[in-house]
C-alpha cells in the first residue's frame, strides 16, 4: 500500500512539473501527450504493484510470433 501511495505521489509531482513547464512554454500538445503517457505508466505501475492481471507485452509478442519461431526452434534443437 505504501508503494502505491509513493508511486501516486511521485506521479502527481512529476505531472505537476510537466503541466507547469509546458504551460509556460506554451506547448499544450506536448503537455497533453506527456501526461497521457504518465497516466498509463502510473496505472501500469500500480497494477503491477497490486499484482493485478496487467497485460505483459512479452507474452503478447510470444503469442504473436509463435507460428514463426516454433519451427525454427525445433530445427535448432534437433540433434543437440
Amino acid at each position: 500500500m505504501l508503494a502505491v501511495i509513493g508511486i501516486a505521489l511521485l506521479a502527481v509531482v512529476i505531472g505537476t512539473l510537466i503541466w507547469i513547464r509546458n504551460g509556460i512554454k506554451k506547448r499544450p500538445r506536448e503537455r497533453m501527450w506527456a501526461l497521457f503517457i504518465l497516466l498509463i505508466g502510473t496505472a501500469y505501475a500500480i497494477g503491477v504493484q497490486l499484482r493485478l492481471p496487467v497485460p505483459n507485452p512479452v507474452d503478447g509478442v510470444t503469442f504473436l510470433f509463435k507460428p514463426i519461431y516454433t519451427p525454427i526452434i525445433s530445427w535448432i534443437e534437433e540433434g543437440s
Binding site: I20, W33, A34, S80
Partner: protein
C-alpha cells in the same frame, strides 16, 4: 538567435556515430549472448560469431541506403512520406512499442545482473529507479552529450577488453576446441540465429541517429561504421573463443553472465586476481549506452509520430512505464532464456530488417526521395529556441545563447 537555430538541435560526427554504434552493439549482448550461442553451437560457437559478421554489413547497408534516400529524416518521418501519413504513423507506432519493450528488457538485464552479482539484497525496483535517474538525465541532455559519453566509454571498453584477453592467456586450453566442426557446418549456422536478433536486429535505432550526423561527415560515415563492425566482429569472436578456451563449453553455456564468470578466473601469479569488477563496470557502461540510446530513440520516435516540438517532456513519463514493464517482463531465468533466444530474434528481425527493407522497396518503387529538412520533431523556422532548456537540460552546448530557463 544563435546561428544554429535554423538547423536546430544537435549534430554528431561520424566517428561518434560509429562509437555509439559499437557500444550499443556490445551493450547487453556482450555478456549474455555468447553463452546462448555456445549452448547451440558448442565449441564451434566462434564460427557462428564469424558467420554473423556479414549480416551486420547487410543491415547497415540497408539503413545507409534509406539514409541516402532521406538524408535529413528519421524513420518516423520517412515512413509517413513513403506509406502516407496514417499508415506511416501506424508503422512508427509499432516501432515505438518495439523500443519500449527493448528498453524495458535492457533495464531488466541490468537489474538482473546487479541483483545476481553485486547487490543481492537490494530490491529490483530500487536498482531500476536509480539506473533510470541517470538514463533520464542522459536523454534530457540530448544526443551530443550521449555521443561524447560514448567516446569516453568506448576507450574504457576497449581498454578493459584488452586487459581481460591478455591476462587470461595463461589459462587458455586448446583442447576445449577439439572436435572442430564435428557435426559439419550446420551447427555453427544454427548458432547464428540468436545473434541475428539480439544485437543485429536492434541496430534499427541507427535510422534515428543517422540523420543527426553532420553533413560534412556523411561521406566518412560508411567507412567509420564499417570499421566499427570489424571491431565488433573481432570482439565477439575473441570473447567467444576465450569463453570456450577458458571456461569450457559446458560451464560457458550454463553460466548466466559468462564473461563475468570468466573474468573471475583471472589470476596472474596471485598478483592480479579478482578483477571481474572491471567487467561489471564496463558492462554497466555499455548497457547504459544502450538504454540511453533506446530511450532517446523511443522518445524521439514518439515525438515525431505525434508532431511534437520537442521530445523532452516524454522522457520521464516513459520511464514510469519502463520500470514496471521491466519488473514483470520475465517470470524467471528460464523464461528469459526462452524469450531472449527464441522469440526475440523473430520480433527483432521483423523490425530491424523486414520493415526497413519493405520501406526501402516501397520508396524505390514509388520513386520517393526527399532531401528536405525533416531533422527533428519541429519545423526548422521556429522563432524560438526549440530546446526545452530549463532546469533539466543545463548542458546543451550547441545552442550557446538559448532562451534563459524559465522555471
Amino acid at each position: 538567435m544563435s546561428k544554429f537555430a535554423g538547423m536546430n538541435n544537435t549534430q554528431i560526427s561520424a566517428v561518434q556515430c560509429a562509437k555509439i554504434f559499437y557500444l550499443f552493439a556490445l551493450g547487453s549482448a556482450a555478456l549474455i549472448l555468447p553463452s546462448a550461442v555456445i549452448a547451440i553451437a558448442k565449441q564451434d560457437a566462434w564460427i557462428s560469431m564469424l558467420l554473423a559478421g556479414p549480416f551486420n554489413y547487410l543491415v547497415l547497408a540497408l539503413y545507409l541506403s534509406l539514409a541516402d534516400r532521406f538524408p535529413n529524416m528519421s524513420l518516423a518521418q520517412y515512413a509517413e512520406k513513403v506509406l502516407g501519413v496514417w499508415a506511416g504513423k501506424a508503422v512508427t507506432f509499432t516501432f515505438v512499442l518495439f523500443f519500449l519493450l527493448l528498453s524495458s528488457l535492457v533495464l531488466r538485464n541490468i537489474s538482473d545482473f546487479l541483483g545476481l552479482s553485486v547487490l543481492p539484497q537490494t530490491p529490483d525496483w530500487f536498482i531500476d529507479i536509480t539506473f533510470m535517474v541517470v538514463i533520464i538525465y542522459g536523454v534530457f541532455l540530448g544526443i551530443e552529450t550521449i555521443a561524447r559519453t560514448g567516446e569516453i566509454l568506448f576507450a574504457w571498453a576497449l581498454f578493459v577488453f584488452i586487459i581481460i584477453t591478455f591476462s587470461l592467456l595463461n589459462q587458455f586450453e586448446f583442447q576445449n576446441f577439439e572436435p572442430l566442426l564435428y557435426e559439419g557446418i550446420v551447427r555453427p549456422i544454427k548458432g547464428v540465429y540468436p545473434i541475428l536478433g539480439f544485437p543485429i536486429g536492434e541496430f534499427v535505432f541507427l535510422t534515428v541517429i543517422l540523420p543527426l550526423v553532420k553533413k560534412e561527415d556523411r561521406p566518412k560515415l560508411r567507412h567509420e561504421l564499417n570499421k566499427a563492425v570489424i571491431l565488433l566482429i573481432v570482439t565477439g569472436v575473441l570473447l567467444t573463443v576465450f569463453l570456450i578456451g577458458i571456461l569450457g563449453v559446458d560451464e560457458a553455456a550454463r553460466s548466466p553472465f559468462a564473461v563475468y564468470d570468466m573474468a573471475k578466473n583471472i589470476n596472474i601469479e596471485e598478483v592480479l586476481v579478482r578483477v571481474e569488477i572491471l567487467v561489471a563496470m564496463v558492462w554497466i557502461a555499455t548497457v547504459f549506452m544502450k538504454l540511453v540510446l533506446c530511450m532517446y530513440v523511443l522518445s524521439v520516435l514518439t515525438a515525431q509520430m505525434l508532431n511534437l516540438t520537442t521530445y523532452r517532456p516524454l522522457v520521464v513519463p516513459y520511464s514510469f512505464l519502463l520500470v514496471p514493464l521491466s519488473m514483470i517482463a520475465y517470470r524467471n531465468a528460464a523464461h528469459l532464456k526462452m524469450f531472449a533466444m527464441g522469440v526475440w530474434t523473430v520480433y527483432s528481425v521483423f523490425y530491424g530488417m523486414v520493415l526497413p527493407l519493405l520501406l526501402l522497396v516501397i520508396a524505390a518503387a514509388r520513386g520517393k526521395k526527399d532531401g528536405g529538412a525533416g531533422r527533428f520533431p519541429e519545423p526548422p523556422p521556429l522563432d524560438k529556441s526549440v530546446k526545452s532548456g530549463g532546469s533539466e537540460a543545463p548542458g546543451s552546448e550547441s545552442l550557446p545563447d538559448k532562451e534563459p530557463s524559465s522555471t
